[in-house]
C-alpha cells in the first residue's frame, strides 16, 4: 500500500511540475491522472496496494473539499454584492449542462447502435 502512496504522490508532483514548467492549460493533478491512466493501461493490470489506496482516497474525497468550501461562504465580497444573478446563473447553467451532456450522450449512443444494427446491403 505504501508503494501505492508513493506512486500517486510521484505522479502528482511530477505532473504538477511539468504542467507549471510548460504552462499547460491542464492542472497538475488532472495531468497526473491522465498519465497514470496511460501507465496503467500499458502495464495491463493495477497493483493491489495502489488500488486500495486509491479507493480510500476517493471514498474520502468529499471531505477534502470542505476547507475550500468553508472559504467560499466566508469570503468574497463580489459574490455577496451580486449574489442573485450569480446564484441563478450557477444553478440554471449547472443543471442545463448536466441535462445537455446526458441527453446528447444518450442520443448519440442510440444513433450509433441503430446504425450498427442496420443490415448491410
Amino acid at each position: 500500500m505504501l508503494v501505492g502512496v508513493v506512486v500517486l504522490f510521484a505522479f502528482h508532483f511530477g505532473a504538477d511540475w511539468f504542467a507549471r514548467r510548460f504552462h499547460l492549460p491542464l492542472s497538475g493533478p488532472v495531468l497526473g491522472m491522465a498519465l497514470l491512466t496511460g501507465a496503467l493501461a500499458l502495464r495491463g493490470r493495477t497493483p493491489d496496494g495502489l488500488a486500495r489506496v486509491s479507493n480510500l482516497l476517493l471514498k474520502a474525497m468529499p471531505l477534502f473539499f470542505i476547507p475550500a468550501g468553508v472559504g467560499v461562504m466566508v469570503l468574497s465580497e463580489q459574490f455577496r454584492a451580486a449574489w442573485l444573478p450569480i446564484s441563478a446563473a450557477l444553478l440554471g447553467s449547472t443543471l442545463l449542462a448536466m441535462a445537455t451532456t446526458a441527453i446528447v450522450m444518450k442520443v448519440v449512443a442510440k444513433h450509433l447502435r441503430r446504425s450498427a444494427a442496420k443490415p448491410r446491403r
Binding site: 504522490f9 505532473a15 492549460p25 491542464l26 492542472s27 493533478p29 488532472v30 497526473g32 491522472m33 491522465a34 498519465l35 497514470l36 491512466t37 493495477t46 489506496v53 486509491s54 482516497l57 476517493l58 474520502a60 474525497m61 468529499p62 471531505l63 477534502f64 473539499f65 470542505i66 476547507p67 475550500a68 468553508v70 472559504g71 467560499v72 461562504m73 466566508v74 469570503l75 468574497s76 463580489q78 459574490f79 451580486a82 444573478p85 450569480i86 446564484s87 441563478a88 446563473a89 450557477l90 444553478l91 440554471g92 447553467s93 449547472t94 443543471l95 449542462a97 448536466m98 441535462a99 445537455t100 451532456t101 446526458a102 446528447v104 450522450m105 444518450k106 448519440v108 449512443a109 450509433l112
Partner: protein, 232 residues
C-alpha cells in the same frame, strides 16, 4: 488555545468531525440525495467559525492537509478510469459529443444568464469558466479578464450545487446508466461532482473524472473564442 491552531490538529479534527456527523445524518435520512454531507458540513463549520470568531485563514491553514489531498485523490481517479478503458473505446463518440455539447451549454448559459440578470462584465467573465475544475478555471479566468478568486468561489459553489442536486436531477431525467451519469456530473460539477458520484459507483466516478479532465482542456481551449463571440 491559539497555539494549537498553528498545527494541523484542530483544523483536521474539526473538519473530519463535522463531516462524520453529517454523514451520519445522511444515513438517518436514509441516504437521501439532497441531504448532502459536504454541504451540511460546510454550513456547520461556517457557523462554528462565526460563533467562535476564529478567522478563516487560521482555520484553513490548520486544515490545509485535507485540502492538499485533493491532488493525490484526483490522480487516484486513474485507477477506476484505467479499468474502464476497454469499454471506453465503444463510447468514444457519445462521450465526445456529450462533452462538447455540455461544456458549450455550461459556458453559454452561464454567460447569458449572468448578463441578462445584470451582473457586471468582470463578474460575467469570472462566471464563464465555472464548469471546470478550480485550478484550470482560475487560469482561464485570469486569461480572459475575470477575477480568479471570484471564479474559485463560483466553481466551488457550482460543485456543491452539482453534488447536492445532480444525482436527484439525473434521476428525474430518467438517466440511470453509470457511464452517462458520471460524464454528466464531471462536465457540470467537476471535482466535487466526481467525488459525489464516486460514492454511488466507482464506474460512474471514472467517467466523471475523465469528463472533468477533458472538460478542463476543452474549455481552456474554446472559452476565449466563445467570450469574444459574446462580445465581452
Amino acid at each position: 488555545m491559539n497555539y494549537l491552531w498553528t498545527t494541523p490538529l484542530p483544523g483536521i479534527l474539526v473538519t473530519v468531525l463535522a463531516y462524520a456527523l453529517c454523514v451520519r445524518l445522511q444515513r438517518r435520512a436514509r441516504g437521501h440525495a439532497l441531504v448532502n454531507p459536504v454541504a451540511m458540513a460546510i454550513v456547520l463549520l461556517v457557523v462554528l467559525l462565526a460563533v467562535t470568531k476564529l478567522p478563516y485563514p487560521t482555520y484553513f491553514a490548520s486544515a490545509r492537509l485535507l485540502h492538499f489531498l485533493l491532488g493525490p485523490a484526483t490522480v487516484a481517479l486513474a485507477i477506476p478510469l484505467a479499468r474502464e478503458l476497454p469499454r471506453l473505446r465503444r463510447l468514444l463518440w457519445p462521450i465526445g459529443a456529450g462533452l462538447l455539447a455540455g461544456n458549450l451549454a455550461a459556458a453559454c448559459s452561464a454567460i447569458f444568464l449572468s448578463k441578462i440578470l445584470g451582473a457586471s462584465r468582470q463578474v460575467t467573465l469570472s462566471i464563464a469558466p465555472k464548469s471546470v475544475t478550480t485550478p484550470i478555471a482560475m487560469g482561464i479566468s485570469e486569461k480572459i479578464g475575470g477575477l480568479p478568486s471570484l471564479t474559485a468561489v463560483l466553481v466551488i459553489t457550482t460543485g456543491v450545487i452539482g453534488a447536492v442536486l445532480g444525482p436527484w436531477f439525473l434521476d428525474q431525467l430518467g438517466i440511470d446508466e453509470p457511464t452517462v451519469r458520471g460524464t454528466a456530473m464531471g462536465v457540470s460539477a467537476h471535482g466535487l461532482g466526481t467525488a459525489a458520484i464516486y460514492q454511488e459507483s466507482s464506474e460512474a466516478g471514472a467517467y466523471s473524472g475523465l469528463a472533468m479532465g477533458l472538460s478542463g482542456l476543452i474549455t481552456a481551449l474554446t472559452l476565449p473564442a466563445l467570450v469574444a463571440m459574446f462580445g465581452l
